[in-house]
Subunit: 188 residues, 2 copies
Amino acid sequence: MRFLAVCGSLRAISSNALVLRVAAALAPLGVDIVFYNGLADLPHFNPDLDTMADDPKLPLPACELRAQVGAVDGILISSPEYAHGVPGSMKNALDWLVGSSEFPGKPVVLLNASPRSTHAQASLAETLRTMSAELVEGSPFAVPLAGKGLDEAEALAHPEIASAIQEALAALIRTVDAQRRAGMSAEL
Amino acid sequence: MRFLAVCGSLRAISSNALVLRVAAALAPLGVDIVFYNGLADLPHFNPDLDTMADDPKLPLPACELRAQVGAVDGILISSPEYAHGVPGSMKNALDWLVGSSEFPGKPVVLLNASPRSTHAQASLAETLRTMSAELVEGSPFAVPLAGKGLDEAEALAHPEIASAIQEALAALIRTVDAQRRAGMSAEL
């Protein structure tokens, strides 16, 4: 299995990026986590550039995002909250995926590094459901990391943090497995 | 009085831009409406570039946005909804204003050109309150424009549309007036 990790923060030192690195370190054998690094380079979404399937006007960074989504079995999103909302840059990436053929049905798990912040997670969940993502049950998974000042090794060694991330990973893997079984029985 | 009109859509032909042009046409004598044209040129918000007042790392487009906000008495926002959320590009502009000295206390009126869409308006209102905007009472004002295919002259001549926009303008003007009176009595 192959998952795409999307960090909603562009900070150089980001607790959300740390959550995703810890997830990659904890991923079981046979599960690869690749990181999406294009958030800052995406232009702002303009519906005029996305009027039909494979619109030739679609900007290259948006094509690349769609290709990366198409190449994975599931997505992990770890996003901060800005002013009780989703960071604009994070939502912009989703706006470019609304019209894609790669996104609908894709399992997505939400991780929340600041469990007291609930507005952005609720908005993300509403948007993801509207986009026909398969939102992984239990999302958002609360990862009590923000404000602790831990590095990756310390976060990995922190039982509550590691187990929350492992639970999220396990739930995403179960969702992909269930999809595959459903797909196989549909083919019989 | 001087107001800044911010359109949440980057479409060339946008019902939200039309709402704002109609508002400019309906503005009473003594009220100027200027248009913010920088949404597409703002980089994606990065907290590392905005760590203190007048951070020298602040990108020029974000400085310009703050200066334009500082130069007006109030703001009109007309924004579409994408996948039950605020367009990322619109939220990104607000993200750059969170740390500004120009924004808190600024009267802001929300106009909704697609009155059936309520998620983005609710998120915008929550974010604006969190940013200490003075959200104009009655926001969002429902302007039943989307899907009608009207041009500016037709929208101006449409009684329901024109009166909704006039009500929003009047409410914004009242809010600025009340702020000025409160400021004057505080100075006495």
